[in-house]
Subunit: 523 residues, 2 copies
């Protein structure tokens, strides 16, 4: 079981093993769209280092290659993202130990026109948290204390650098749960989560961070400490300024602490998986599950037969796959409940299952009987990413579209690749699968094109067509990963000119010199 | 039962019967803090009327006294708030029938420097939705259609002028619930609710509108229609601009439509009331209820013995009160559940009751057996406002403070009034009660000082001391009612100079001429 859990955690990072050919392609495209280094920014020098060292209470809080005290190798982990896809060349990393140190750093950098990139756990997928050129890296890792927790209200106040898993463990000991969960939970930091407005696995149940986060402490580009660290669930005195910083990806200010409302931890978990004849059937089951499971529904994931086929193929390759369904289908869904009473929750889940089977809304269904089976059933959904990564090169798109239109995008893309002779059902084309899976409840589709090899023909058949499709369906080209440097050039596919203009004006208002996390987000 | 329900609806508006002495006092104080009419704004003329009439598709969409086609009496309901506390003197009301009409109105008013106040159901409590002087009134009442509802995702898209109760009824027929409920639901409009970021009775369960609202359509002060009417639950492509308009009280733009995520409607409701020995016991029971009822807890209200005493006194006056508790206490709490399975929910509620009684966490408890009893128990909490209104003159404060400090404010205020000889337990002072009740789960305290008559001594003993107390406890002087014109001068008790300065800069960015809902909010 612990091996399964460890594999599960790793399965969120399979891109690491996808080889360098995708990465170099991405870099190639990026190079052509990357803005040049701004001449407005000062290059960090030894004089800056000396002054910044005087600000910091600990000598260990500064790493630099400028005076030879650190090697560039020691700065690599800060300069590159964890996928090894994006690389900066900063000579200077600062790891302040207090909000006031962050403030003094910001004030100084602002006065010297030193550009700066804030960095949490550096687990992002869009190159948002590492430098592009020589921006000073400001790591929040040393701001890592829980400041307070109130077990009556469930309100946690904690430094930005607290690791998500640590926060969740802290809460678990007290019977509470952090309203966000991610594959990267062991490394990502809660301040970075808020700065990125991370979505994750608990959104269906606990909603977005915009509803959970009660307050923020933010250091503004000029060094001002903005104390918006409210512990109030209700406060209607003026604009809710913290919302500007949530999801701003570190471009408006540095989040140094958060206040967040945490729910009670569920005491019981149930998982069932169903096979279904059509996407319409998935939608009908989703509606039924929402109705019958109501308040205990905690996840509703779907995947298509193509996805399941790859999982079975991968399992077979690894020594055999268990037969799960008597009758397989075109689609599958996984339903999870989390509630406060095991008997009640099982009753609801069993009743749902009987209703779905009795009314022939599903082809077959399996209800997990214990923790091991829960993990086995989850592995059917969570195993997709690893399976396709092992069996081919994967063009991955993380899209948000209205639920009813979600799978249509997969079908359109499959047909397009078929028409171009790239995809053939018998496996003789370069593309061996065009599959879809994702978070049904959130309208979050993972469209994946599995190819025998990296190919310009395939890529050009997909992009920018996939973004156009998303735009036509009023969707989002980034459901939960943000813009960073990867998607910054493509924001117009999801946002109007008026919206982008408003965003630019707000950026200009907060950061007139544009020093904070430059070249990214809204450019 | 229907009589009870009607009374319940009325009980949210008891201030109407509080007499004119409070109102004239408020006006008196307001007069001294009210900014003068801005000379930057053009006075509406018959030429403006003629042009605006040409914009509107229906002659009935324009009411004006300028050409004698309407009397000032016909404009009274638009010029005054429903409490009769705030009065403007606009000669012109516009009731556009489409977003494009709103846009043309805004463009024209902007070009002519005509100030303008947006008005929904005009049910606010802070004078935010009626004119102060001669601002043009833009009523959203004729924008009242549901645009779409998706029963898979639960996403409702509707015009701003849809009445909250109509929206909820529409959803109820489809098995869904609007994630907001208010006493004023029969009149207030969903656009106004979002503009005010209304809190209400369902916040504990469904969270704030900031998490539920998915998108907005807004007409900006220059007439631009900003289409932010997303139906996406997840979208991380840039700043979440809609958050600026939520709670901006119509000062940044006119909300013309909303997109909102609606949960499934609970199928079962249970209500219990407990008597308790102390506020600490209330907090302990709240923690226990959160733990044991978890996902089905839909309300946790508390009130003190003073509140309950007034309710009993009022009931006795009206022909006898039922004995509810064998053992009364210093405090009471009402717990409501809403879930998808009646049997399960009753089981949880009964188990909680047995645990609380068995462990002597409460003095006594009553579980409603049917719908009539549910309403009777709710009337103990909901009857407070009417009871004290009948038995004295009430100084009312709607405050938000951390839950653990909530009741301390009542005790401090009671002691202060006792020290000044204004409050005496034996009823011989001018103040006959200093009581507290409210939404425990939201940290929302209703502090009420019940006086035999209106008195400068009493008012001066309370204000601005009560705001200072709130400020010392990092609270909010307006938990859910907003600022409007009533609390605009007091924002500094809840927000820092830096915050107010940021808000002013954002207002300047969106509305450089300051034409939209002037004299209010952030002044």
């Amino acid at each position: 079981m612990s091996a399964l859990r460890a594999w599960y955690a790793k399965s969120h990072r399979p891109q690491l093993s996808l080889g360098t050919s995708l990465l170099s392609k991405s870099n190639f495209r990026l190079a052509s769209t990357l803005p040049p280094r701004s001449t407005q920014f000062t290059k960090p020098t030894i004089d800056h280092v000396n002054h910044l060292r005087s600000i910091l209470s600990s000598p260990a809080s500064l790493l630099t290659t400028l005076d030879g005290s650190s090697t560039s190798g020691e700065l690599d982990a800060f300069n590159s993202d964890w996928m090894g896809k994006y690389h900066g060349s900063s000579p200077l990393v600062l790891k302040p130990r207090s909000t006031s140190e962050v403030s003094e750093i910001m004030r100084y950098c602002n006065s010297r026109n030193l550009a700066l990139v804030p960095q949490g756990g550096n687990t992002g997928l869009v190159g948002g948290s590492n430098p592009v050129y020589d921006e000073v890296i400001l790591s929040l890792s040393n701001l890592n204390s829980v400041r307070s927790f109130d077990k009556v209200s469930g309100i946690l106040v904690a430094d930005a650098g607290v690791v998500l898993e640590s926060a969740d463990n802290y809460l678990a000991e007290r019977g509470f749960i952090f309203p966000l969960d991610l594959g990267a939970k062991g490394s990502c930091q809660i301040g970075g989560n808020v700065a990125a407005n991370a979505g994750g696995l608990r959104l269906l149940r606990y909603g977005s961070l915009r509803g959970s986060v009660l307050g923020l402490e933010v250091v503004l580009p000029d060094g001002t400490i903005w104390n918006g660290l409210s512990k109030l669930r209700k406060d209607n005195t003026g604009l809710d300024l913290k919302q500007l910083f949530i999801g701003s990806e570190g471009t408006l200010g540095i989040i140094t602490a958060i206040s967040i409302l945490c729910p009670r931890r569920p005491l019981a978990t149930n998982v069932a998986v169903f096979s279904l004849p059509s996407y319409e059937a998935v939608q009908a089951v989703y509606a039924e599950a929402r109705s019958r499971l109501g308040e205990i529904l905690s996840a509703f994931e779907f995947f298509d037969s193509g996805s399941y086929g790859f999982v079975k193929q991968h399992q077979a390759h690894n020594g055999g796959s268990k037969k799960v369904f008597e009758t397989e289908g075109e689609f599958y869904c996984l339903i999870e409940t989390g509630g406060s009473n095991a008997e009640h929750d099982e009753g609801k889940m069993t009743a749902l299952l009987e209703h779905l089977m009795g009314n022939e809304m599903v082809l077959d269904g399996v209800l997990a009987q214990d923790e091991t089976q829960i993990k086995e059933l989850w592995s059917l959904r969570e195993g997709i990413t690893e399976s396709i990564g092992k069996l081919g090169k994967v063009y991955k798109y993380d899209l948000s579209v209205p639920v009813e239109k979600m799978y249509g995008l997969v079908e359109i893309m499959r047909e397009r690749l078929r028409e171009r002779g790239l995809y053939k059902e018998d496996g003789s084309g370069i593309v061996i699968g065009v599959i879809g899976y994702g978070h049904m409840g959130d309208g979050n589709l993972h469209l994946n094109v599995v190819s025998k090899e990296w190919s310009d023909d395939v890529q050009q058949a997909i992009e920018p067509y996939v973004y156009e499709l998303v735009a036509e369906n009023s969707g989002s080209i980034s459901a939960e990963h943000g813009l960073g440097i990867m998607k910054a050039p493509y924001i117009s596919y999801s946002k109007s000119t008026e919206s982008v203009e408003m965003m630019k004006r707000i950026k200009q208002m907060f950061d007139p010199k544009g020093l904070l996390n430059p070249y990214k987000y809204i450019v």
